[in-house]
């Protein structure tokens, strides 16, 4: 299991691995929005939570199709499926590796981008907290979508269409945490719901993903 995690991280860091792609995309979104909306501080502060969450979500989406498609193409997915580890574990580890490579860096740079978007001072902590709690769900749900589309040529677009609706609850509650946090209101309800979605997705979806992969490998 750990060997698989290390391999996936190493592959992501090497040439063409895609590490930093999501991060650069997130950065660009956060820079482009003020250019489009205008530099007015109060407007930006109002839309900052939503923009940051949508940006993080789309950045996560960018690298989803790589989770299983590359392993499928070069035959390693067949070999992993016959290896002495449960396919559910393989899925969970690969989703975790995806989070380490995309979700975690996004969470860490988000405060800097919050500054660009004039996020009110009280919101920074909640921005990091909500992303840290919510982005694992994005990776796990995304891995499920990737598992469903793994055998398809050009499955990337279909993957986006499948996964984006499933991201809606995470987006709503994640952005709500930041918005309420920035306005100084109580955040515990959306924060708990966000954590609940992540916990539920992480507990259930690896099984569904493994089942989808088994069907796709036939």
């Amino acid at each position: 299991m750990i060997a698989l995690l290390i391999r996936d991280l190493r592959l992501a860091m090497r040439a063409g691995g895609g590490f930093g792609l999501g991060l650069a995309f997130f950065l660009l979104v956060a820079v482009l929005v003020p250019l489009g909306v205008g530099p007015e501080g109060s407007t930006l502060a109002k839309i900052a939570p939503g923009i940051l969450w949508v940006g993080a979500l789309l950045a996560c989406l960018l690298s989803l199709d790589r989770i299983f498609a590359l392993d499928f193409e070069d035959g390693s997915l067949d070999l992993l499926a016959t290896a002495p580890m449960p396919l559910e574990g393989v899925v969970a580890v690969k989703a975790f590796a995806h989070w380490l490579v995309t979700g975690l860096p996004l969470t860490l740079v988000a405060p800097v981008l919050g500054l660009l978007l004039n996020l009110p001072g009280a919101g920074y902590g909640w921005l990091v907290a909500s992303l840290a709690l919510g982005t694992p769900a994005l990776s796990v749900i995304g891995a499920f979508g990737a598992a469903l589309t793994v055998g398809l040529k050009r499955g990337g677009l279909l993957l986006s269409l499948l996964v984006l609706p499933l991201y809606v609850p995470t987006l709503i509650f994640g952005a709500e945490v930041v918005k309420r946090g920035a306005e100084g209101q109580a955040v515990s309800t959306p924060l708990l719901l966000l954590a609940g979605i992540t916990a539920g997705a992480a507990a259930l979806l690896p099984f569904a993903s493994a089942a989808a992969i088994r069907v796709n490998l036939r």
């Binding site: 750990i2 070069d74 067949d78």
Partner: protein
């Protein structure tokens, strides 16, 4: 432990291609599967490895005893030869990487990226993975594709050593590997019958007549 397959039926793309496949493989022996393209050699091997469910029949040995080598080698282009092998060794919990590198004549290439290997060298690396699995039954699907004569002989030697150590090998190949221990099983007679001849309703596909 022997591998006993009884009345195995398997399907590709929802159509039955083989039925009634039965054979027994004893330790130290190899079985070469023969048959024209499309007869279902790969399908049979994937079914035995547990990658797809069998429609009918019994296999006496669980897929956990088998090491599968498919058409694709499962190599990562941006990892070195050693890293590729070390990953599989870690997955299977063995420390046979050095041994495998030596025996598949990959020692000189150990630090090279898999992307920079020739097709034959990649194949040798893909086959070296079998050595680090430590599993007794090797299931090989066209293992000699893109290997030169010397490499085929090298790999035949590796199989022979595996058999001598009590292992088994199930090989789908069109090339004669020169294995005296190998029996040959022609899959032709096991081709699924069309519904007209009493086969299951889903069995018929004009491609296989």
């Amino acid at each position: 432990m022997e591998l006993r397959v009884t009345n195995l039926a398997c399907a590709r793309g929802g159509l039955t291609v083989l039925e009634g496949v039965s054979f027994t493989l004893r330790p130290g022996h190899a079985l070469v599967l023969r048959g024209p393209n499309g007869i279902g050699k790969t399908t049979a091997l994937r079914t035995l490895c547990g990658l797809q469910p069998a429609l009918a029949g019994e296999v006496s040995v669980p897929p956990e005893s088998m090491a599968y080598a498919a058409h694709a080698d499962g190599l990562k282009a941006t990892l070195t030869v050693t890293e590729n092998l070390a990953f599989w060794a870690a997955v299977y919990g063995t420390d046979l990487v050095e041994d495998a590198l030596q025996r598949m004549n990959l020692d000189a290439l150990r630090d090279r990226m898999a992307a920079n290997l020739s097709a034959g060298q990649k194949r040798r690396l893909g086959l070296a993975r079998l050595l680090v699995t430590g599993r007794p039954i090797w299931v090989l699907d066209e293992p000699t594709v893109s290997l030169d004569a010397a490499s085929v002989a090298l790999f035949a030697g590796v199989i022979r050593a595996h058999l001598a150590a009590g292992g088994m090998a199930l090989i789908a190949t069109h090339i004669d590997l020169g294995l005296d221990e190998a029996e040959i099983l022609d899959l032709g007679p096991f081709k699924a019958r069309s519904p007209r001849d009493g086969g299951p309703a889903s069995a018929f596909d004009e491609a296989f007549t």
